[in-house]
């Protein structure tokens, strides 16, 4: 019953997203939702490692950048012109991200502490940024790379990108949903709550984290490629950008880390807010201050994010009652239903 209702809401949301660009077809309107959808995909896939296991990666922008450079380089070297074909090349961005994620995950997860994981992942981001700046022969350094553009015109230009982002977002959320409900996902959530205890009941924690890390790189790689294609030109500092990681984490966090709905909600609140903020504050500086203040206010007032806070509020009273009632009945030995119990 509850599951059906959630499915219905999800269906309505997807239909709304499909209809939206036909109703609000201006470039500004579709651009804003395009970015929001892209970040739904990014934050939801980050959530697979960061939210489910609690291993907060601050370097997933590395995969974003890898995807972006993949599409730029492949299009350039194979001479692929702008058009629908480049969306297939964007998928390659996911493959490349996964290939890099294997050694990166191996090293970052070697020490079983979240602290060192966080720092090593930050280091990855800066290493890739440095590489993009320095490998002049490949990346063209700080001059950046262009991506061939399609000859779509006017308001239609955004449409293919919008739907590519929508498909990616839907698939990523489904992936996260699938994982959340799989045995594997249960293992990941157990790691978040108590990693050593999880090992104690037979969860191979290292493999779980490693697999989650690699899986979570794929949609972000694809998203990076779509972003690069959309923005037509990439620079090391725009695709290997620490702000991307911050936005990911904040989206996931704002909505509720480790929940399925959280990153979606977070991305849809944060992305438009960020765009408006940059648009209205104009002066570089105020946007950072406002962003930071917003960030602090949310963390201090709602330390577990929107979704868990709401869930908690609605269910707290009910749970407390149930626990007390059960506690009263447990200690009386006669009340033992003794499932399959032996003779006493």
């Amino acid at each position: 019953m509850k599951r059906n209702r959630m499915g219905l809401i999800a269906l309505i949301a997807v239909v709304a997203a499909v209809v939206y660009p036909f109703v609000f077809s201006s470039t500004e309107a579709t651009t804003i939702v395009f970015y929001a959808l892209l970040y739904v995909a990014i934050a939801s896939s980050w959530n697979i490692i960061g939210g489910f296991t609690g291993y907060i990666s601050l370097g997933h922008a590395a995969f974003f950048g890898l995807g972006a450079y993949t599409i730029a380089l492949v299009a350039d070297h194979l001479g692929i012109p702008g058009g629908y074909g480049l969306f297939l090349v964007a998928l390659l961005g996911g493959v490349v991200a996964a290939l890099f994620a294997v050694p990166m995950g191996f090293i970052a997860l070697r020490l079983r502490t979240i602290h060192s994981f966080v720092i090593v992942t930050i280091a990855y981001l800066f290493m890739f940024q440095l590489l993009a700046f320095n490998l002049l022969g490949v990346t063209n350094g700080s001059s950046g790379l262009a991506i061939p553009q399609p000859n779509w015109s006017g308001a239609f230009f955004n449409m293919p990108f919008y739907f590519a982002a929508l498909v990616l977002a839907v698939l990523t959320v489904l992936l996260a949903y699938w994982i959340r409900n799989s045995r594997f996902g249960l293992g990941l959530l157990a790691i978040r709550d108590d990693e050593d205890k999880a090992a104690g009941v037979g969860v191979d924690t290292w493999k779980h984290k490693f697999a989650a890390y690699i899986i979570s790189a794929v949609p972000i790689g694809i998203a990076g490629a779509i972003y690069a294609y959309f923005s037509s030109y990439i620079y090391p500092q725009t695709v290997f950008d620490p702000m991307i990681d911050l936005t990911i984490v904040l989206s996931a966090f704002l909505g509720g880390m480790g929940t399925l709905l959280g990153p979606i909600l977070g991305a849809f609140i944060l992305q438009p807010a960020q765009q408006l903020l940059t648009f209205y504050t104009g002066a570089a500086g105020w946007d950072l201050v406002l962003f930071g203040v917003l960030f602090l206010v949310v963390i201090l007032l709602m330390p577990s994010g929107i979704v868990p806070t709401i869930v908690e509020r609605t269910r707290r009273a009910r749970v407390r009652e149930a626990v007390q009632k059960a506690d009263e009945t447990v200690p009386t030995p006669d009340a033992n239903p003794a499932a399959g119990g032996g003779p006493r």
Partner: protein, 291 residues
Amino acid sequence: MNLVFGSVVLGILSGGIYALMAVGLTLSFGVLEVINIAQGMLVVVGAYLSFALESYWHIDPLLGLLITIPTLFLLGFGIEWAFLRPLKQDRVALSILVTYAVALILEGLMGLWFGDNFVAIHAWYVDAAINVFGLYIADIYLIGFALAIVLLGAVYLLLYRSKFGAALRATVQNREAAVLIGIDVQRISTLTFAIATGLTAAGGMLFGATTAFNANSMLDLISRLLMIIILGGMGSMGGALVASLIMLVSVDVVSVAYTPTWSTFVFFALTVVVMVVRPQGLFGAPPARKV
């Protein structure tokens, strides 16, 4: 060859300065279990304070430390009290986010006040230089190194020769146990964070006197400082010092002997290699399973 030797000397001297910046990070990690992402930005704030004192009121940067250190001490006190102390659950994750947010706010404010232009702190000892084996090294490096040694020595004495230090070290070893034996961990935490931030003012002045900087420099700084503490072993004071020296020497040697372009990358790659062989860092202890 002499040039390389000179760059080793320069690396050691500037390594001392970096150790001063990194030790704040190590202290707050050890005691509060907080990765202070704002550390890079606090260095920049320290640098800007010294810069402002020098260029608006002509206060000598070294003398100005008497103003900037207490100012940052108070700033650190405020940050810990207002933003870190209220965190109860998920401290690891939330403290990263909180300090990142603090860094952004400070970055925005510094950008608004001082603009985008790169600036540097000036003083006679910044502009004078001595010749070390063919490499001119500004006096500030020698002063900076000496200052770093003095301040790090003071931290060492505080840690190992004072009652506060004993309580602090107990907290580093086991936060829960420290509470049980009656240590006011909350007070220790606030003071440690404040002291760490205060020290950063000195690190910031030296950074600003040896490097041109703007508000955006914090990203470059925090990435380097984080790599230093992870190479040294998180929470290890001596590790931070040794790793700073390794970093700056390797960066300077690569710059002189090969090219400045790859100097930082070489250090980063070196650290990652160390992580493969010795994931707990040079002086870190491998984490025990929680039982």
